[in-house]
Amino acid sequence: MSTAVRKTQNLLDFLLTTWKLNLAGAMEFRLSFSITVGTMLINNFVWVFFWGVYFTKFPLVNGWRLQDVMMAQAVGCGAYGVAAVFFGNFIGIANIVSTGQLDTYLAQPKPVLLHVLVSKMTISAIGDLLFTFILYGLYGNHSPLGFAKLLLALLVGSTIMVFFNVLAQSLSFFIGNAEGLGFQVFNAFLTVSMYPTDIFRGIGKLILFTVLPAGFISFLPIGFLRDWSSTFVWTSIAVAVGVTLLAFWVFRIGLKRYGSGNMMTMRM
């Protein structure tokens, strides 16, 4: 077995073990786990209510039907769900850097960024993932191809979600405590990624496909799931790959600037 294959195998084993342990830790308190997941489901159904009321009065919103808007909710929530369940620290990096907790990760023989990302599992996000599949059951295309498209859309969406936020969080390496800024960016990104892209115009729309690329997530239900527009599909995949590479590069540069803290931390 070549070294590269062995390394990849080891990395995958490491990721799987971490996710398994994260889930086992969460399941330790079954009642709390169920309540957390359940309340998140209720939270998301508020939007089903909103759009349900909206579409009883207005059949279309700039070409988007009820099914499209519901799938936008499904994909937006699902992208966040995958990000927060499997890479839960994607919005915690700024805090980890500014409080000096990165030392723990630097001392271990694992890829630092990946290790940081998978070290946390946001339990409530399991509710978001469940919600995605409930909406898919109600409004999605149930053919094998439709399901494969949904999975691919979630992969692209979550990759953009994780690594765009890694970029925003990495500002901590350069400007000090960027926790507040990172949180605002994340909130804005997540919110706009669940609304029909076509309600935005001019500068608003330009921003969604450039500096805050949430448009590549919110347009997935149309460009990926409904119409399969080749241009959009390949552009969004290219954006996902580009943002990932850029995030790893910026994080690497940031690591060189990182000044260790003196806080003693221990990972259990």
Binding site: I42, K57, Q184, A188
Partner: protein, 299 residues
Amino acid sequence: MADSDPQNHAESFASNRTSRELRPSSLHEPRVSSLALQLAKYTAVGKITVRNNLAYLYDYLIRSLFLLVILYIFAQLWRVTYEGVGTPTISGYSFEQLLWYLVFAEAMVLSSPRLARRIEDEVKKGDVAYQLTRPVSYLLFQYATYMGEAYVLLPVHLLVGGVLGTTMFGVPHFGWGWLGFLLVSVGAFTINFLLNMILALFSFWIEETRGLEFVYYKIVFTLGGMLLPLEMFGGTIREVADWLPFQTVVYFPSKMAVQFDASLIGRMLGVQALWAIVLTLCLTLLYRKGVKKLNVNGG
């Protein structure tokens, strides 16, 4: 907690001490009714809360910037909707009125202090024991604090939300709507306090009440009219919303601000008063039961 209410002990201790120490001088001073004294006491609590919160004004302002994002998205959605429908009003609201309605509605919800998590923390850490032994009514103390905080946050959120409204439509001219909003907002915050306090008191039994608060606010978002004015709802949902107290928290003040109606304000205040009486009774009963049941660890 023990069989007897410690708060009663504290209050009787305070009143004994007051009567012993103040009796001689009271002969020479004008008599102040006990109600006025009570009022002054809780007004002082409210004032202190206002002063405490004013220290963090800048922080609140930064944190509420997210409100702009939400309102911007809603503005885009409703602009497209009004253009699509092609009529100047939808369910009686012009585009401008609807956007300002959302500004007031969001401001009301965001300015409501999150009581459940505060009281849950106090119970978990044991701090509630200190609160209960103070010579003040626990519920009135919480109410004064709640109102003090709400009325510091409300102008901040109105200012931030108002930036978007003013940019899009210019300075609003609500006339009596401002006064109507202010009046109805007192009832709205009071009912929100009562409902939240009822939920928060469950922490005397079950400790974890954040989930309840979370679900409560989802009902306020929907049936309370935060996301949509109740006129947008169809038949049954509207009827259900009309019989519940949640509309008094968000829909009433927001509607009164953008569509002031002198004939409606009396009815709104009356409905709020009725709910306030019913909920105060429920809260008082629950508190009496809860404070006997409370078991404080730590502190």
